[in-house]
């Protein structure tokens, strides 16, 4: 008899939490969709506008149904986006490679071989990100000018490396911290030198993290505008500088700008798409160990 009582009282108790959790769950889903669409809408609008004529692009109310045209893309590629793309590509790849080459050993040392001043060093790194770039641009300009390095792609590479290093060191450090100390000890007991244990044991483990770091540094370098617009003119100008060229004193070429912006965004989207799996692994490193 008591067993029956228990069963009947237990049933609603067991289902109750599920029912109540569905309410906030659904609400959160709706919210997530709203936020997601809110982020995606400008991108969608940009891509749509890229396929409109200049006249369609500025109508009010906006034109939603239209016959797509590739004229804007033809204009972008015909108008010489090539050198800008190459500059951006070179600055991005070179600075990211440099960041990884310099940042990986630094992050390794700061995580697996900490010393007394490790915290101070880490704080110094992050403190360099606290000053707005605007505040430093005048001295940077003066120095670059003095060195005769204005409108030089290597100037951007050095600056982008410096800009991304602190972030890379912090990110990579968090990945290195996830590597159990015993693995390095085991490798050393097994006869591996520090270099070999890094290469054979540690790097394969943190490769998703390195991919994530590389992608984030690439995105920052690819999108960087402020240094590029102030320190380059024609030879070393990057894609973001080219985009601004569509905002002229005679008016805004909105459809062309959108086409150029779509072209500029594509490499990052493609890189992100390719690195998707590694990226998710990398960014959720500790959680899935």
């Amino acid at each position: 008899m008591t067993a029956v009582d228990e069963r009947t009282t237990a049933t609603p108790a067991a289902t109750a939490p599920r029912r109540t959790s569905r309410g906030p769950g659904a609400l959160l889903s709706v919210l997530a969709w709203i936020v997601g669409l809110g982020f995606f809408f400008p991108v969608l609008w940009m891509v749509m506008t890229a396929f409109k004529t200049e006249a369609q692009a500025v109508t009010i109310p906006p034109t939603v149904f239209f016959v797509p045209t590739f004229d804007n893309f033809a204009e972008v590629f015909g108008g010489g986006v090539g050198p800008y793309l190459l500059n951006s590509l070179f600055a991005t790849v070179a600075s990211t490679v440099l960041v990884l080459l310099l940042g990986t050993p630094a992050a390794f040392a700061l995580s697996l071989r900490p010393v007394k001043k490790t915290q101070d060093v880490l704080f110094f790194f992050i403190s360099t990100k606290m000053l707005p770039v605007v505040a430093a641009i005048v001295p940077i300009y003066v120095v670059v000018n003095y060195l005769g390095a204005l409108d030089n792609i290597w100037t951007l590479i050095v600056l982008y490396t410096a800009m991304n290093l602190p972030i890379a060191v912090w990110m990579m450090r968090s990945f290195f911290l996830e590597v159990p100390k015993e693995l390095l000890e085991a490798a050393s007991m097994d006869g591996a030198s520090l270099w070999r244990s890094l290469r054979e044991v540690v790097l394969p483990i943190i490769s998703p993290g390195m991919a994530a770091t590389a992608l984030i540094c690439s995105i920052f370098a690819w999108n960087e505008f402020f240094f590029a617009v102030n320190l380059t003119a024609s030879r070393a100008a990057t894609v973001p500088v080219y985009l601004v060229g569509f905002i002229t004193s005679e008016g805004l070429y909105f459809a062309s700008l959108c086409a150029a912006a779509t072209v500029a965004a594509l490499p990052v989207v493609i890189a992100g798409w390719i690195a998707q799996n590694k990226l998710v692994q990398g960014l959720s490193f500790g959680a899935v160990k």
């Binding site: 159990p180 000890e185 085991a186 490798a187 007991m189 483990i205």
Partner: protein, 374 residues
């Protein structure tokens, strides 16, 4: 194969503070299986890591085959270690994990495969060679870690609590496997554990450490039968030895108001040290239980743990007046509580009154302050 000597070896993390390992002296014979045991913070793992080259040697020296290891890197010591969490390389297969030390030693691929296969056969891992560690059970991972250690035939094996991540049944099984494997290979082995059962069952000799200091280094039987001090007495054996503070009388000592006679030689030792009190140790199996009113010290049974083959009675000595207080600090026994091992199913129940008599051979006497054996 090698002998290992700790010669006044010390590890001092912060200058001026208490050393983690304090002037440790150990001589480990070639082929011997030595267990370092002790409570947490006793320095046993640190001592092992000093031998491994993972911790500095701040004082004294450690010698392998007469060769001083101070300043020698881990990778040049030719010793293999099994870690508590196994430390398998997660991105390598079982075969690659086991072959890694051979690869580092520059042994070519075909020879590596042969040796890995041999080790895998010994450890029953042949079917798992292509798996990654994450696809293995705890016991299998443990065996891979063992395989990685034995495959290169090192001078010394080091094992740092290799069984503590296994479930109880697996632990007992692996315990005997490791001991058998060590005897078969004959490689000098230093094994760290906090579990005194592992220490007693696996080691040729056991080194018991506490607070960074060596308490006793002897065979398991010696450690049990002739503990050098009250700490060793309380640590080795389960349940722990009963330790009481007892007043010295003319013919022996008094325990719960009853006189317990002591042999002449012990009495003269106590006399020469002019002690009025001693710490009296009696193992749980060294009591004879008689019904209430019989000969012996009256006691009340508080808890009965029936294990089938035998039973543990946890009780309180009665008539414990001012002459009896307990040494509680190191053993966890306190006041006038007592543990007695009896045969199973004797019918003793909670609340029963019994009379306890310690056997004369089972008496251990320690100095009340220093804890040293008298």
């Amino acid at each position: 194969m090698a002998d290992v000597v700790f010669d006044q070896a010390s590890r001092i993390y912060t200058p001026g503070a208490k050393p983690a390992v304090d002037r440790l002296d150990l001589t480990i014979e070639d082929g011997e299986f030595v267990v370092l045991v002790g409570p947490s913070g006793s320095g046993k793992s640190t001592a092992l890591r000093m031998l491994a080259g993972l911790e500095e040697i701040d004082g004294g020296s450690i010698r392998i085959d007469g060769e001083n290891m101070v300043g020698v890197a881990s990778r040049d010591r030719d010793i293999a270690m099994v870690f508590q969490n196994y430390a398998l390389y997660p991105n390598k297969t079982v075969a690659e994990n086991m072959a890694f030390p051979l690869k580092m030693a520059g042994i070519d691929k075909s020879d590596r495969a042969v040796k890995v296969k041999e080790a895998a056969e010994i450890l029953g891992l042949t079917d798992y060679l292509d798996r990654k560690p994450r696809a293995l059970s705890g016991g299998q991972r443990q065996r891979v870690a063992m395989g990685r250690a034995i495959v290169r035939e090192p001078r010394v094996f080091l094992m740092d609590e290799p069984l503590s991540n296994l479930d109880a049944k697996m632990r007992v099984q692996t315990r005997t496997e490791i001991a058998a494997l060590q005897r078969r290979l004959g490689v000098t082995t230093v094994y760290v554990t906090h579990d005194q059962v592992e220490a007693m069952t696996m080691g040729d000799r056991v080194a018991l450490l506490a607070d960074g200091k060596l308490q006793q280094f002897a065979s398991p039987a010696d450690l049990y039968d002739r503990p050098q001090n009250a700490f060793v007495a309380g640590f080795i054996g389960s349940p722990a030895m009963n330790l009481f503070r007892a007043r010295v009388t003319e013919r022996g000592v008094t325990l719960a108001g009853r006189e317990v006679a002591l042999p002449q030689d012990v009495r003269s030792t106590i006399g020469s040290k002019q002690l009025t009190e001693v710490t009296l140790g009696i193992r749980p199996e060294q009591w004879t239980v008689a019904p209430d009113g019989g000969e012996g010290i009256p006691a009340r049974v508080d808890v009965v743990e029936e294990l089938g083959s035998d039973a543990y009675l946890y009780g309180t000595l009665a008539e414990s007046s001012g002459d009896l207080s307990a040494t509680a600090s190191l053993t966890g026994s306190h006041d006038d509580s007592v543990v007695v091992r009896t045969a199973g199913r004797t019918g003793a129940r909670r609340g029963d009154r019994v009379a306890l008599t310690p056997s004369t051979e089972g008496l251990h006497l320690f100095h009340p302050e220093t804890g040293d054996r008298l």
